[in-house]
Amino acid sequence: MLPEVGNFSLILSLFFACCLAVVPIIGYWRHTPILLSTARPLTLLMSCFVLVSFIVLAIAFLTDDFSVLYVSLNSNSKLPIWYKFSAIWGSHEGSLLLWVLILCGWSSVVALKSHTLPKEVGPIVLSVLGMVATGFLLFMLFTSSPFVRDLPNVPVDGADLNPLLQDIGLVIHPPMLYMGYVGFSVAFAFAIAALITGNLNSSWARWARPWTAVSWAFLTLGITLGSWWAYYELGWGGWWFWDPVENASLMPWLAGTALIHSLAVTEKRGVFKSWTVLLAIFTFSLSLLGTFLVRSGVLTSVHAFAADPTRGVFILALLIVLIGSSLLLYALRASQVKAGVAFGVTGREAWLLLNNIILTVLTLTVLLGTLYPLLFEALDLGRISVGAPYFNTVFSPLALLLMVFMAIGPLSKWHSTKPSLLVRLCVWPGVVSILLAGIISYIYHLGGMAWLSLSVAFWVVLLTCKDWFIKVSAGSKGIIPRARQLPRNYYGMMLAHLGLVVSLIGILMVSTCSKETTVKIAAGQTVSFAGYQFTLNQFESLKGPNYVADQADIAVYQDGKLVAQLKPEKRFYEARRQVMTEASLNAGITRDLYVSLGEKLNDQAWSMRIYVKAFVRWIWFGGILMMCGGVLSALDKRYRARVEGRHA
């Protein structure tokens, strides 16, 4: 009975979403305030019913209702309870429901905050979000309802959740990622509302800024978690694979980063207006494209679920309708925007323009690398794969270039800055960072690329600190009151920029100073590697809730002292008859010791991979700093309920 309620509730929410997509727009068109005012209750109703559906599905999972096909395919009575809950988004149908739920969550927050917006903008924004929700609800109801029953042949037990997904990282990674993806729909809705109302002044940028910053923070956290999960769960010790699905999340992130910066320029200086609107459309389109790539199975990937052509076609159609209509609207309306005020070549606008150009180019190169195999196949040239070397070759130099300018931007002033002043500010930090990086590279025998990257890292840190110092030491008040006066926005930026540097150092060190080896090892044997002695004490058999495992007990010594006790496992999940490698690692600030079991070679010996990963934690710590930066800047006082007065 309950699953039918869930499905019915989904249909009801579709009805409200359709109303939301149509009624407020008619209200705006006919100047009927009563129709405009329906937007808020409609949004909340739509969200309530989606929430009901989600709760129903959750109950089905938690009570092991295997008559529901989706539950029986992705859960098992022996599955631990928290994985039963996270199994909701373990596969296609449920993760779509999560997508829609999060979209509704964002819409509701916008609805509850809409009193701070001019009275016709709020309803139109909600209406645009309603259109997106309509598309996805239609998709879910027609091609992939999670409530389909498998009657009367109810299976005795479920097929279990994919063992790879039975992990804390996967409990939180998809919701965070989706919060980011879907959050960009709010910036998109503001942009479309600005196009519809024709008010392409800087006020829409101010409303969109905190939303964009928060979504960006979520996306950053989602990507960071995904990378961390891949690192310890896949057993290869890699933290980024340039897998199409990773790229699908990286592209909106890059575009979103560009959007954050261009929104700042549009809000403060009133330039780049039409570009910012286009970028908002572009960012959300990339989020949708990501969903399409992941869900349709057109690309080979570890994330690829079963390839179902009807689903792919549906999402593609949705993508074309959404992107096509918003670009059409853009083409019709954006020409009304007059060219903005002029700005100097060395003003902050110029640096941010450069930031946008490089980020856009980066996004396009990732897009090209991701879609190239599809293109190649469509032209019947053969089946290819574009590997990590392509992305590394193209991405690294452009990203380093971006970071060089990233340090200069904050130092320069709006409108224009004297070039001589900039040069004076930059000379010493430049010289110092190149020398310092040179010394470090020389001592540790790092290569030229490492020297370059380290120089960039020091350069950004020095200039960021210098900028802060200049700002707090100006004026007559003391340093601490001045420092407290600087807006949160500024500290958010500082934190995010420094976070990127921390990640850069991590990436650099892990790719140049890590060591790895593959050995054959039996109980009682010791292997010396990279200054550590790995002693395999014994093998044990274990029984988990839904698996059996072979566990190795390895003691790691350095200079005769025990530094770590590692217990890597090889698990066998009974329900799916699937083998899984569970790596074991000892985390540290400057290095991770990482051991994963290979195969059983004979009665005593196993093959084993040993990695010593230098500075790998820094990559994710940097990601967390960036996320904090995003949140901090969204909390800036300027965004709070100040809009009402401005609107007349």
Partner: protein, 152 residues
Amino acid sequence: MHPIRRKRIITIAIIVLVLSGAIGLVLYALQQNINLFYTPTQIASGEAPKGVNIRAGGMVVKGSVKRDSNTLFVSFNVTDFKRIVHIEYHGILPDLFREGQGIVAQGKLLPNGTFLASQVLAKHDEKYMPPDVANALKQAKGNTPSKPYNDN
């Protein structure tokens, strides 16, 4: 010059500069790092280039997996049920590598027709068949009657 026009020219110049740099990098990288996929039939008939990084895939032939007792060396055959390719690999095979399962290997074709793999991929789902392999099997099936000259 008018400041707005000046700004535009500089903007366009920067865009052209960054784009051309990026395009150069992209072309360079694409030239080096594209790995074409070849089916066992294509490899056996000599269509695949030797000594270049390529990918090959098919079903692992039952009973063909042989391991060295002292090192991590392993060899096996893959097939599209028409022709067979011998693959050699040094290292740890993925968890889902099993006889009768579809795999994709990346590596180089040696002059004697053996494929020396640098990486072996099996997908992390038992039901999942790598699309490349699925396609290869389909091709091998479809080609049998119409292209007899493949078996030269």
